[in-house]
């Protein structure tokens, strides 16, 4: 037996960081970690961090941690994007830094766009969404925690483990997958990607996907089982509804992703032949499976954003949302239809005219409920008295970008048209318009809207508007050129093109647009810092800064850890709005509250699985065994732990509640 490979697998000295970008990345990561460690030591905050945050099972804290992690990953993914665009601008000139064209060689360029896509979908957009859902859904349904608080913590830490794993090739060297964000087979098979790159992709997504699946189950049970008395399904706020639908999608499709990745894994690790070129594998099967997950996945991202817009529009137009049942029905229809269109991602791959026609028509059907929603929002604003705060600006931005991107989608839904623009930059522009202009703008709207509820003070309004306009301008500047380029025949994922095409100036516009977005993001950070500084003036003393409609605004801001001193009784839609109208305050009868205890088991379990994943990347058998056994032992220990909850006596609740009411 070869001991060295038993312990460290295929890892060699030559793999450790030696290119400029891995050294730079490693340097940046360790500088940041070092700075954080120094800060925590100086301010003596280690214990505080561990006890109040990392081991917390409170969805509000976990939500905030999701947001922070997603933002960090957003910076990482954003740097990738800048590298991609700048290569495309510079590629017409002489090559530098050892590259033949521009400054990135082809293989490195491929790794970057792969990482960029995976990070932005799995770790940024999903992270932000899970953060917001954690923060807001329990409040909207009048619950104190989630159905499975421990699993929530575990899901978060698995997400973190995946996020770290996708960055590990900086630290341990090696490479990332050079396959595109979905690692399509047979390109991702051992024959074409013999290195560790695809292994990193596999284990990072498998571990974080497990976290997502756990989170999905948790939220579905929470929303179905833990609503306040009187809140029937048709009285739920729109954001809760759309979160429920998104999570139903998660539990139906993430198992498909997990299995697809698992099949690729056994192909690569055990020499099986699911998707290989030789021994009668079937490559199209990978495409079908990955898009059966992939298309619904884009709706996992966008549907909660629809909910956020519904809340924001009705709050700031000061009207109840127009046609609530039709909004619910539309979101539900989109959820269902999203299962029936996956083939539009490979019209060009020879399914034949009948099949293409079917999927093309199904794709266009999705436009109908989407249009219904847009009309609903517009009619909500109609004759409303709109207050122009920054959350509703994001909504206006969304309406313009999303309709635009939806039209582009409709074009591509026609197979004959799609044959011309499939896998061109037109497609890239389409989905960025949908995900950035749709999902991400919605997330920003949501964060601005709910910020006072989470922290107790509002974000600076003036800077908020600057942020919005910079983002919008930057967004259009960087993606409109891509539509044009796509029409001119520029394919996606191009690290080099001939100068004679005359494309360079359009890429330059895109790069400038991306730089404007950088300014917008910096402004966002500035906005946060300024708001923290001026938090006294920006303080939300009422708990209801926007004159809101749903239950979360009935609590003081920031929310006490038990959410509601007494679980509210719901009598109608827009529950809090009705309560405000009635004004007759019945005396409060306090009760004992049962709350989940903190636990570090989620961290330990995720750490062991992280070790397992990392070891599997390098096929380091010993560490893989340690990681897996550790994880199983943690799991067994946790299942037999009976001491997971504590009681907050009624007297204590009363005391805390009175204090809260005094300070507000």
């Amino acid at each position: 037996m070869n001991w060295k490979s038993f312990i460290i697998g295929q890892l060699t000295w030559a793999d450790l960081p030696h290119q400029w970008f891995t050294i730079g990345g490693t340097g940046a990561i360790f500088t940041m970690l070092g700075a954080a460690a120094v800060f925590l030591t100086i301010t003596k905050r280690w214990r505080w961090l561990w006890k109040n945050w990392l081991t917390s099972t409170d969805p509000k804290k976990i939500g905030v941690m999701y947001l922070i992690m997603a933002f960090l990953m957003f910076v990482r993914g954003g740097l990738d994007a800048l590298m991609l665009f700048s290569q495309q601008v510079l590629t017409v000139g002489p090559g530098v830094l050892g590259a033949k064209h521009g400054y990135l060689d082809a293989n490195h360029f491929q790794q970057i766009f792969t990482a960029h896509g995976d990070i932005m979908v799995f770790f940024v957009t999903m992270g932000f969404l899970f953060g917001l859902i954690n923060l807001i859904v329990p409040l909207q349904i009048g619950a104190r925690d989630l159905a499975f608080p421990f699993l929530n913590s575990l899901g978060f830490w698995l997400y973190v483990a995946g996020a770290i794993l996708i960055n590990m090739f900086f630290v341990l060297g090696g490479e990332f997958a050079a396959t595109g964000w979905l690692a399509v087979a047979p390109l991702s098979e051992l024959q074409f990607q013999p290195g560790t790159g695809v292994n990193y992709w596999i284990w990072s997504l498998q571990i974080s996907g497990l976290g997502t699946l756990i989170g999905g189950i948790n939220f579905v049970v929470t929303i179905l089982k833990m609503r306040a008395p009187g809140m029937s399904l048709m009285r739920m706020p729109m954001f809760t509804w759309t979160s429920l639908m998104s999570m139903l999608l998660v539990i139906s499709i993430f198992p498909i992703l997990a299995m697809t990745i698992a099949l690729l894994t056994v192909d690569r690790y055990l020499g099986m032949h699911f998707f290989t070129l030789n021994n009668a594998g079937n490559q199209m099967m990978y495409w079908n499976l990955i898009w059966m997950w992939g298309h619904p996945e884009v709706y996992v991202l966008i549907i909660p954003a629809f909910g956020i817009y519904s809340e924001v529009v009705s709050t700031f137009a000061q009207k109840k949302v127009f046609g609530y049942p039709s909004l619910v029905a539309a979101a539900g229809l989109i959820t269902l239809l999203s299962f029936t269109v996956w083939l539009h991602h490979f019209f060009t791959m020879g399914a034949g005219a009948d099949v293409n026609a079917f999927f093309g028509i199904m794709t266009m059907y999705i436009g109908i409920p989407t249009g219904v929603q847009i009309v609903n929002w517009l009619l909500t604003m109609f004759r409303g008295r709109i207050r122009y705060y920054s959350p509703i600006y994001w909504f206006f931005g969304f309406i313009s970008t999303f309709t635009f991107g939806g039209m582009a989608g409709m074009l591509m839904a026609l197979p004959p048209v799609d044959f011309q623009i499939h896998n061109s930059l037109f497609l890239v522009a389409h989905f960025h318009t949908m995900i950035v202009g749709g999902a991400l703008f919605g997330i920003f709207a949501g964060i601005t809207y709910w910020f006072p509820k989470i922290t107790g003070f509002k974000l600076d309004e003036k800077l908020g508007k600057y942020v919005f306009w910079t983002w919008l301008v930057g967004f259009f500047a960087s993606f409109v050129p891509l539509y044009i380029l796509g029409m001119m025949g520029a394919t996606r994922r191009m690290d080099h093109y001939s100068p004679s095409t005359g494309w360079q100036y359009l890429f330059l516009v895109s790069l400038i647009g991306a730089l404007i977005i950088v300014v917008a993001v910096i402004l966002q950070v500035v906005q946060l810092i300024v708001s923290i500084k001026n938090r006294r003036q920006l303080r939300d003393t009422t708990g209801d800064p926007w004159n809101g409609r749903s239950l979360e605004w009935s609590t003081p801001s920031p929310i006490p850890f038990y959410n509601f001193p007494v679980i509210p009784q719901v009598h109608s839609r827009d529950a809090y709005w009705e309560m405000k109208k009635q004004k007759n305050k019945s005396p409060i009868i306090y009760e004992d509250i049962v709350l989940p205890k903190n636990t570090a088991m989620g961290i330990y379990l995720a750490a062991f699985l992280f070790l397992f994943g990392l070891a599997m990347v390098w096929q380091a058998t010993l560490f893989a065994i340690i990681g897996l056994t550790g994880a199983i032992i943690c799991m067994i220990k946790r299942t037999f732990d009976e001491n997971t909850e504590y009681v907050l006596p009624a007297s204590e609740v009363e005391k805390l509640d009175k204090q809260y009411r005094l300070t507000v």
Partner: protein, 198 residues
């Protein structure tokens, strides 16, 4: 103190409710995973790459005996749950032990079938068809293994602590899991073994 205990009781039934629903949803997600495997198996069934076809490698009577053993284990598992409801500790241990033994037997039979195939040169590396076969049946086997580990830990705990309410809950979920695997196996038996005869 009294109010605290009623509160705990209320919270406990609530938690039981949530856990049961959560577990059902988990089972459904697992079913989707098996669904993917069934689909891949059906697609790859003919992809033998010059290797053996399904009708050349499967032994129907053997598969039938595996099926009967697993079905019996499901039956004994049901009896164990009945005993659990009557709070009869000895019987619970007895029936679960029997279930455990049947489960192990099933697993051994399955492994012997695998090793026979491999020794004949028909491992999962041979063709797409064999990859799909080993993965589908092997995944089911892994689930059975997980169930067995879960069962042995629970048996040990019952023996030491008696039938506590949290253990009863775990055993009930375990029986759900076991029946679920049984149903999946029926599909495997039909789609993999019976269809090979056609």
């Amino acid at each position: 103190m009294n109010s605290v205990t009623t509160l705990n009781l209320k919270k406990e039934t609530e938690n039981n409710d949530k856990t049961t629903l959560g577990f059902w949803i988990y089972l459904m997600t697992d079913l989707v995973m098996f669904g993917v495997l069934f689909a891949t198996y059906t697609v790859l069934r003919g992809n033998t790459f010059g290797g053996p076809m399904d009708r050349n490698v499967f032994n129907l009577p053997f598969a039938l005996s595996e099926t009967l053993i697993l079905l019996t284990s499901s039956f004994t598992c049901g009896l164990a749950i009945l005993a659990l409801q009557q709070k009869n500790k000895i019987q619970v241990i007895l029936w679960f032990s029997l279930t455990f033994i049947l489960g192990i037997t099933f697993l051994i039979l399955e492994l012997s079938e695998f090793s026979k195939l491999i020794s004949e040169g028909n491992s999962w590396q041979r063709s797409g068809f064999l990859s799909a076969y080993f993965t589908l049946v092997g995944t089911h086997g892994l689930h059975i293994t997980a169930g067995l580990i879960w069962m042995i830990i629970c048996l040990f705990k019952i023996w030491k602590e008696g039938l506590t309410s949290s253990l009863s809950r775990k055993l009930t979920l375990l029986s759900l899991f076991w029946h679920f695997l049984d149903i999946v196996w029926i599909f495997i038996f039909t789609i993999v073994y019976l269809m090979s005869g056609i």
